[in-house]
């Protein structure tokens, strides 16, 4: 079994409203040292697959077809063995 860890974030330049709201809310709570906030999503998949290259290729396909929005997202994939 392999685990694919896919981190999906907004491309540079795409407005991140959730991040902006986090900054505002933290300032209201007097965390004034916070200058910027960005939010990303991590999807971890447990894969019944032994070949790391193949797993990475398939995870890439999953991103293209379902998990990420190519207009606004960029993503990175890492594959690790599950013990």
């Amino acid at each position: 079994m392999l685990r694919a860890r896919i981190e999906i974030k907004l491309k540079k330049g795409v407005v991140d409203p959730e991040g902006k709201n986090i900054v505002k809310a933290l300032h209201l709570l007097h965390f004034n040292e916070v200058k910027e906030a960005g939010v990303a999503k991590v999807i971890e998949l447990l894969l019944d697959e032994e070949d790391v290259d193949r797993a990475k290729e398939r995870a890439e396909e999953m991103c293209k077809k379902l998990l990420a929005n190519p207009v606004i997202n960029e993503y990175s994939i890492s594959i690790e063995h599950v013990h």
Copy 2:
């Protein structure tokens, strides 16, 4: 400046409906090797702070007061220097 990277996920045992839906949707697309999926959120904060220990302590407070839900979430914090 320091960057705090906060990863927030569901505690073990808490049902992850988004993860379940991802598995279903991937199966519909014939990615049958996917056995489980879990979703986590990463919040990256840019902090006007130089002391790593202090930054970690403050990020911990932010999690407790706003970012994480102690009933269902667990989180990890890492601090790195911004170049």
